[in-house]
């Protein structure tokens, strides 16, 4: 109860929890703004590009947080799913779709990228029935390597030289829509019986199973949803960069996403958004430092881990990401009970 009171003492949080229309309205406004930015070139193309990357990285971070933060596993192969999505969508837009339809059917290609990645995620979910922790991390690590070498050895999609010819159809409004959709769906999952199942697996898998949670189903769902959105992120990424190589999706990429998850904080959607935004922007801001950038940035991380080991928002959530039903469950029940008496 004290937690709830503290949350509601924050005036902005109290206001938004009373006015639930505020969120959707703000999102609609931001969407219009992103359309205007793109239409009237309100922002420098370079800044627009950074915003696009922020969006893609939010998708990657929120989706990885589902497995690493909420479920408490340690997946280090997230870039592998991204690669599957990127290549699938690129092959569709370059080889299958007639050029004049690309703009129109781009969302279909993105969804196909997500579905392909989800299919691969389904396969990776099976080892998770038997192993967990460090050992599952090794499984996901190997999975990332397999994806990379498979792509490197398929000549039809360029092998190690990479794949190009995509049109730059990933625009700011599109990225905005996909980011909101990803965050919304993953939030919905987290605040459902499946999401609570995911949390209970992190806390105590055996107890969770004994409390009627079908842990296998929950694990499969978490992996599939996580990899689906990684695939979406990959598809968007390919169509902004217009050139992808297997090397772009190696362990370094996975590490980047991991850093964003742990910087923002585990098991937090708000944290994932902050983590992805700060990391992406900071890397750009530090660009003038040249090679020192990659010394400075890790240093920031070390300092953060020393003083805030759980990340910026670890295990906490902004109340406007929490469905009202969950935020007020106990309180509503109590108030209704009092009226009844």
């Amino acid at each position: 109860m004290s937690m709830l009171r503290e949350k509601l003492r924050n005036p902005i949080a109290a206001w938004t929890s009373r006015n639930r229309w505020a969120g959707p309205c703000l999102l609609a406004l931001l969407f219009l703004l992103s359309l205007a930015v793109q239409g009237f070139e309100l922002l420098d193309p370079y800044v627009q590009l950074i915003l696009v990357y922020v969006g893609i990285n939010i998708i990657m971070t929120v989706s990885l947080n589902l497995v690493n933060g909420y479920m408490g596993e340690f997946s280090v192969g997230h870039a592998g799913f991204m690669a599957v999505g990127a290549y699938t969508a690129s092959i569709i837009t370059v080889k299958l779709l007639p050029p004049q339809l690309i703009g129109l059917l781009f969302p279909v290609a993105v969804i196909c990228g997500g579905l392909a990645a989800a299919l691969v995620g389904l396969v990776v979910a099976f080892p998770s029935f038997k192993t967990r922790g460090d050992y599952l991390a090794i499984v996901t690590l190997s999975f990332g390597m397999i994806v990379k070498s498979v792509i490197e050895n398929i000549n039809a999609i360029g092998g190690p030289r990479g794949f190009l010819g995509m049109e730059k159809v990933t625009t700011l409004p599109w990225v905005f829509v996909w980011t909101v959709l990803s965050v919304w769906v993953i939030r919905n999952l987290v605040y459902s019986k499946f999401g609570r199942g995911v949390l209970s697996i992190r806390e105590d898998e055996i107890a969770s199973n004994l409390m009627s949670v079908d842990t296998r189903h929950v694990k499969v769902l978490a992996f599939v949803v996580s990899s689906f959105f990684a695939g979406i992120g990959g598809a968007l990424y390919a169509h902004v960069l217009q050139f992808i190589t297997p090397r772009a999706f190696d362990i370094i990429k996975s590490t980047d996403i991991l850093i964003m998850v742990y910087l923002g904080g585990i098991a937090s959607i708000g944290g994932s958004i902050i983590g992805a935004a700060i990391y992406t922007v900071l890397l750009e801001v530090l660009r003038p430092m040249g090679v020192w950038r990659m010394v400075c940035m890790p240093l920031v991380l070390v300092i953060l881990m020393l003083y805030r080991p759980k990340g910026i928002m670890g295990l906490k959530e902004f109340s406007w990401f929490v469905p009202l039903r969950d935020l007020m469950a106990a309180r509503v029940w109590r108030e209704r009970g009092q009226k009844r008496v």
């Binding site: 109860m1 004290s2 937690m3 709830l4 769906v185 919905n188 999952l189 459902s192 019986k193 499946f194 999401g195 609570r196 199942g197 949390l199 209970s200 806390e203 105590d204 055996i206 107890a207 969770s208 199973n209 004994l210 409390m211 009627s212 949670v213 079908d214 842990t215 189903h217 769902l221 949803v225 295990l315 469905p323 039903r325 469950a329 106990a330 029940w333 109590r334 009970g337």
Partner: protein, 256 residues
């Protein structure tokens, strides 16, 4: 009619035989205590009944259905719930979430409905909150609903664990040392609690316990286990004077 019937149950950990040829039956609405010295295999029996371990041999029939070796979530959904010797709550989560998790098997909505919060989702979630809060208030811990489970005092954590087990709507409740670490006063309260939930939920209860005050106070029948076998069975008062039981606990009693 027996609600639970265990026949010829054996379980081995590597070369160690934990349970050998165990037979027991629990009647509907009975309150049965399982006692025995340390290492007698009591908790192993609970682990096998609830599905944590697959037995090496033997059968377990619950309400006419064979459940030996079935997955724990399925057994829980059939109506067997349990608590643990060392409290195993989901520590970082709120008390309410602990109880809501145990409704997994009852909330009828698909993963797709959950992803978009549509269809049956809203009604089912409301029902789950309703039932969870009712359970919490029945156990007198409704005020702690938003508290993190790990921040509750020990006695209340025990209550949350019982509430969580009840949330799965069991017919048979397995309590593994519910009074461990409690003082006499708390044990009295626990006995009242067990009586009241038994009546309220129409339960059959099987409990492991070392605290003789509790065992003698509420159990209608006792099973004494030693080395994975039933060595005695009967009313609490008879068990107290059974030479085989004394032997198991105190060593052989020599005539002199």
């Amino acid at each position: 009619m027996s609600i639970l019937e265990v026949r010829d149950l054996s379980h081995k950990f590597g070369g160690l035989t934990a349970i050998s040829g165990l037979n027991m039956a629990v009647e509907d609405h009975e309150l049965v205590g399982v006692i025995g010295p340390n290492g007698a295999g009591k908790t192993t029996v609970f682990n096998i009944i609830s599905g944590v371990y697959k037995p090496s041999r033997g059968s377990i029939v619950f309400e006419g259905r064979q459940i030996a070796g079935k997955p724990p979530s399925l057994i829980t959904n059939l109506g067997i719930a349990r608590t643990f010797q060392n409290i195993r709550l989901f520590k970082e989560l709120s008390v309410l979430d602990n109880i809501r998790i145990a409704h997994y098997g009852q909330a009828r909505y698909s993963s797709l409905e959950a992803l978009f919060h549509v269809g049956r989702f809203r009604d089912e979630e409301e029902r789950v909150v309703e039932h969870s809060m009712e359970l919490l208030s029945l156990l007198g811990i409704e005020r702690s609903a938003d508290e993190q489970a790990k921040n509750l005092p020990y006695g209340l954590q025990r209550r949350v664990e019982i509430a969580r087990a009840l949330a799965t709507r069991p017919k048979l409740l397995l309590l593994d040392e519910p009074a461990a670490g409690m003082n006499p006063n708390e044990i009295d309260q626990l006995m009242d609690l067990i009586h009241s939930i038994r009546k309220e939920f129409d339960l059959t209860i099987l409990l492991i316990e070392h605290q003789m005050a509790l065992v003698m106070g509420i159990c209608e029948r006792l099973l004494v286990l030693d080395f994975g076998e039933t060595i005695a069975e009967g009313k609490p008062l008879d068990i107290q004077n059974d030479p085989r039981v004394l032997e198991a606990y105190l060593g052989e009693v020599e005539a002199w």
